[in-house]
Amino acid sequence: MTAGPLVAVVDYGAGNLVSIEQAITAAGARVRLAATAAAIDGADLLVVPGVGAAAPAMERLRDAGLVEPIRTWIAADRPFLGICLGLQLLFDGSDEDGAVTLGILPGRTVRLAGAPTLPHIGWNQVERRRPHPAFSGIADGADLYFVHSYAGLPAGGLDDEAVVAITAHGARFVSAVARGRLLGVQFHPERSGRDGLRLLANVVGLAAVERDRRSAA
């Protein structure tokens, strides 16, 4: 039996990494916290977590020399998971503070519209717009945990081909996107109990398949 895939979790001082490390370990992978570009080398899955505002996050990623490595990784269609702010940063820019972000997915991070309370904090239903293997074994409409006031809006809106799932808090917003081996989720799988751990295990499993495919090639 081979060891679990190696997951590089980008560490740029953006909050709680303990729960992500613990949850990914529970999913059968090995975790390496990556504060430098070199620490990403050799990983089978790259995870960008994060909470908070876009501008300071981008500044820290730049200071750590991680912006280009993340772009290169995704451009090569390597397995990638962005969580919360780690998803929002993939878009062109953020209305939260005007930050120019990674520009990997066309679209912007916008404030949740019509929300009865902000931030949107708590468990809410994630409704799938199309099948994705990361959600295998998780009921459509499952409750997952959110804590945010902004969300990425793809250029094509809620009907954009990248949209995997949507959630309603006031208006509907995009709660999961995917393109190739990139997955981004607005909720926190590491804090979403059994279903969240299931999603992480699925993502780790997909990374293991890709690792084996690459090593066989």
């Binding site: 729960s19 309370t117 590491e190």
Partner: protein
């Protein structure tokens, strides 16, 4: 639809969960990580962990207990007690907290709320407000809503109107408020829904109700009458007077949206 949260609270002193009436007469209720895991399994939507041992030498212990707790429960964890700077908040987040709660220090240094929110985002900053009812008939103009803010475990009044302070805390950057009725805390006489209503009408952020839970009906009233987004309780869960599943069943029967407890999860 966003679910209304049920939140067990772990009051921690010297590494143990304790509970007392009105913050005094503390009794030992167990090991924080063990209780956290039990509550996560039984359907808790989130956990609040309050360090009530103010001793500065307890810092290292606290971070170690936070980390052990965070590793056992795959649900969100808010940690409060003793956070006095942005660096303190960073340390608590790095130990595994998802949110940090500021109470006495937010009153003493309101700009701390702003600095923490700027660094980690409003969603990670909870301002905890301990409110005490002002005796009826005093007509004290400082407290138009009838509640004043108290700090240091409810012992010390600071001359602030509780509702005005709630609004100010949100302006400063709080993403959530944890509102405790000091009059009701530990008394099991029900939440102070008038206090909750006064606060929730004035702010857009979610409000967690605290202080006074006796049974499931109190949770319903805190949401329906008080406008709370989440409801917190400690001793009734620690002592198994009522289970999280029972609370949620009564809330659901009252038409409130709650997250289902995993089947077979309740021990």
């Amino acid at each position: 639809m966003l679910r209304r949260r049920v939140i067990p609270c772990l009051d921690v002193a010297n590494g143990r969960v304790v509970k007392g009436t009105r913050f005094v007469d503390l009794t030992d209720e167990g090991d924080p990580p063990e209780l956290a895991e039990r509550y996560a399994r039984e359907g808790a939507d989130e956990l609040v962990f309050l360090d009530i041992s103010a001793a500065p030498e307890g810092r290292g212990t606290l971070l170690e207990v936070v980390e052990r707790t965070a590793r056992r429960a795959f649900i969100p964890l808010t940690v409060g007690g003793g956070v006095r700077s942005v660096d303190d908040m960073r340390d608590v987040l790095r130990a595994g907290a998802d949110k940090v709660s500021l109470n006495t220090q937010a009153v003493a240094d309101p700009d701390l709320v702003t600095r923490c929110a700027a660094r980690f985002g409003s969603q990670a900053v909870v301002v905890a407000i301990d409110a005490r009812r002002v005796s009826a008939g005093t007509g004290d103009a400082r407290f138009p809503a009838g509640y004043q803010v108290v700090v240091k475990g409810g012992r010390e009044p600071v001359g602030l109107d509780a509702v005005a302070w709630a609004r100010r805390a949100v302006e400063l950057g709080a993403g959530e408020l944890l509102v405790t009725s000091i009059d009701r805390d530990g008394t099991q006489t029900g939440f102070d829904t008038a206090l909750l209503r006064a606060v929730t009408l004035g702010v857009e952020v979610p409000v967690i109700a605290s202080g006074g839970a006796a049974g499931p009906d109190d949770f319903v009233r805190a949401v329906r009458d008080g406008g709370a987004d989440a409801v917190l309780a400690a001793s009734i869960f620690h002592r198994r007077q009522v289970s999280i599943a029972e609370v949620k069943a009564v809330m659901a029967a009252a038409g409130l949206p709650v997250r289902a407890v995993d089947p077979g999860a309740a021990a």
